[in-house]
């Protein structure tokens, strides 16, 4: 009985996210076909740029493109084909990097993005929430005022601009850390200790810029949550029957954190967006950088592919967060009376 309600919740979220994903991929599919001026003709004219360096490639690419976009066929057949191929992991062929498959281009860059975004987001979430809780606990002291003012400003700093400032200050001015890339140019990624240290050095600045600018928002939200919960009925009652302050604060912290977990799920999209641009600023070889390359060369199959993958990963992460939430909140795990 207890688990049934949790399963129901998870299933509901799963179905919802699946529908949303279908809608999102449909948009990805429809856009190039619906926007006036037919981007496909743009692609073809774009091909000639590539063709200058690789004359015989153009004909093959052109043929390939016509096939992949299924031009000439009715749109619903095109759609079914698109979905069918996508499910098999075939996202078409890149134009810029012809004849490499889109999937083969995306797969190697994903780990770099994950390694950057996941730890940075989690660290920012933990630090931000702790700071916010601390500020609320020391309400109206200088700690609170400092955290609040700092967070208000910091939360409005775009990741990428903070990245620029960090590069300029720590990289260019002080020369402490490398200013671009994920590892030194000329080295080949391997599992050696030297490479790890080199990558770590390159990792610090982009990581910090995401952590610092993402922290502020969490701190502001958590502070408000905790202040609200500190005035809640259970906190007051616990005090009246002589519960120790420390324990009450742990209750409040726990209950304030729950909505922040949901907040994490909702913010994932914009976190990803910000992080992608940060990659561009740092020339960091992740998904954002690949997308940037694809956008500047108008490599539509690659753009489309990157989006299918990115949106899917946002929903996957969303689902994982939902799942965790269902595990930690008994009101969902067991199901509420009312």
């Amino acid at each position: 009985m207890a688990s049934r309600s949790a399963v129901k919740y998870i299933l509901r979220r799963l179905i919802f996210l699946f529908i949303t994903y279908v809608v999102a991929t449909t948009i990805v599919f429809i856009l190039p076909r619906a926007i006036p001026g037919n981007p496909l003709s743009q692609i073809l004219s774009n091909l000639s740029r590539v063709a200058q360096s690789n004359p015989e490639a153009i004909r093959a690419a052109e043929k390939n493109l016509m096939e992949e976009f299924g031009l000439g066929k009715p749109w619903y057949l095109q759609y079914v084909e698109f979905i069918g191929k996508a499910l098999k992991g075939d996202l078409g062929t890149s134009i810029t990097y012809y004849p490499r498959k889109v999937m083969d281009l995306i797969v190697p860059v994903i780990p770099w993005t994950l390694v950057l975004i996941l730890p940075a987001t989690i660290v920012a979430w933990i630090l931000g929430n702790s700071l916010g809780a601390l500020a609320a606990y020391r309400r109206n002291t200088w700690i609170d005022k400092g955290v609040l003012t700092g967070s208000l400003v910091v939360s409005q700093i775009p990741y990428y601009w903070l990245g620029m400032i960090f590069i300029f200050f720590f990289g260019v001015k002080l020369g402490w850390l490398p200013v671009q890339g994920a590892y030194s140019q000329g080295t080949i990624p391997d599992l050696s200790w030297a490479f790890f240290m080199d990558a770590l050095k390159h990792y610090i600045l982009p990581f910090l810029s995401i952590v610092v600018s993402a922290m502020g928002g969490w701190a502001i939200g958590m502070r408000l949550m905790v202040i609200y919960e500190l005035g809640s009925d259970y906190a007051n009652f616990s005090e009246y029957i002589g519960m120790k302050d420390k324990r009450i604060f742990r209750y409040v912290f726990r209950n304030s954190l729950l909505p922040q977990v949901t907040g994490l799920a909702l913010s994932l999209g914009s976190v990803l967006g910000g992080a992608l641009i940060t990659e561009i600023v740092f020339n960091y070889p992740g998904t954002g950088y690949l997308l940037f390359k694809a956008l500047t060369t108008l490599d539509y199959p690659l753009i489309q592919g990157v989006f299918v993958i990115l949106i899917a990963s946002v929903y996957l992460a969303n689902f994982i967060v939902d799942f965790v939430y269902a595990l930690i909140d008994p009101r969902i795990r067991i199901g509420q009376e009312e």
């Binding site: 009925d233 007051n236 009652f237 616990s238 009246y240 029957i241 002589g242 209750y251 209950n255």
Partner: protein
């Protein structure tokens, strides 16, 4: 003084805001005897909830104790709790000697842990053996009519009325002598109200709590269980009296209005309650001069505007603050 449990002398507690003070409790003197139920009645905004905070010394800025003393009998001798800080009173007496059933008792239990864990934490906080306290809670659960297995549940798995009883069980687990219930029945339906009052009385009968202060705007609830009543108006006590005499012959014009509004037969009027007293309660930043009730009083005299009527005993056990009885001192 022998069987007094709590004594308040000229209590004054204001909400001190930047430029003004809200005089929510302004010169209250009364005592609560052992083994009695006292109802504190008044319109919302008359300072009765503030009074419960003051009794507990729960002074959270901007609420400030401006003057007066509170004594609580602990182990046979009186402690002047108004001389202690909030933290000291909390540490020494809350939960052990005095406890509260808050206005929204339904949401008073920590929602995301099982009640058993909650009791464990309570034992830790008071330095008691967790096992013993849980056994005691189980016993108390039975007494208030809850199944013992429910202690292993989360609060949200119980219905509203059950949750309220669980709160009573938990709040009285350390046998505090004084229990304050603040508008405890306002969120309950009639059946659950009855059950709740019964449980409250049985706790007193068993000697788990000595005395109960019931704070409410609803005279109908109080009269079912109270021995004495304190009528508050605009931060002051206007009348203090044993319940039967008060119901039979209210002395203060405000009490009279309050009773009429409840006892009038027409259900329409009854439902609207005390609205039948013309006018609205005054703001407590700048209360009316003299008797604070004079702008709404049907028997207003000139003296009422100028001088404040003292609370004087005019019959044994009956005190009233009104110039109508100026000549009747005993």
């Amino acid at each position: 003084m022998e069987n007094v449990l709590l004594k308040a002398e000229n209590l004054r507690a204001y909400y001190k805001l930047e430029k003004v003070s809200v005089k929510a409790v302004d010169g209250l003197s009364f005592e609560i005897y052992e083994d009695e139920v006292v109802g504190v009645v008044g319109e919302s905004g008359c300072g009765k909830t503030t009074l419960s905070n003051v009794i507990f010394m729960n002074m959270v800025k901007p609420l400030t104790l401006v003057g007066g003393k509170i004594f609580l009998k602990v182990n046979g001798s009186f402690e002047e709790i108004s001389a202690l800080s909030r933290d000291e009173v909390k540490e020494k007496f809350w939960g052990k000697e005095m406890t509260i059933i808050p206005q929204s008792a339904m949401n008073a239990l920590m929602p995301t842990i099982k009640m058993e864990r909650y009791v464990q934490h309570l034992a830790e906080s008071h330095g008691l053996d967790a096992r013993e306290l849980i056994d005691k809670t189980l016993q108390r659960f039975k007494e208030v009519g809850l199944e013992t297995s429910w202690l292993k549940r989360y609060p949200f798995e119980l219905s509203g009325g059950m949750r309220q009883r669980a709160v009573i069980a938990v709040s009285t687990i350390l046998n505090p002598s004084l229990l304050v219930a603040d508008e405890p029945t306002s969120a309950l339906d009639v059946v659950n109200q009855k059950v709740f009052l019964k449980v409250l009385m049985s706790l007193k009968r068993r000697g788990i709590v000595k005395s109960i202060i019931l704070i409410t705007h609803d005279i109908a609830t109080v009269r079912q269980i109270a021995d004495r009543m304190i009528i508050m108006y605009a931060g002051k006590i206007v009348e203090l009296s044993p319940i039967d005499e008060l119901l039979e012959k209210p002395l203060h014009p405000y009490t009279e209005g309050l009773l009429n509004s409840v006892l009038t037969p027409e259900p329409e009027v009854k439902k609207r309650g005390i609205v039948t007293i013309p006018g609205a309660p005054p703001n407590l930043i700048d209360p009316p001069s003299g008797c604070r009730f004079h702008p709404r009083c049907p028997h207003m005299m000139d003296v009422c505007k100028e001088k404040e009527p003292p609370l004087v005993e005019i019959e044994p056990g009956r005190r009233v603050a009104c110039f109508l009885y100026a000549g009747e001192r005993t």
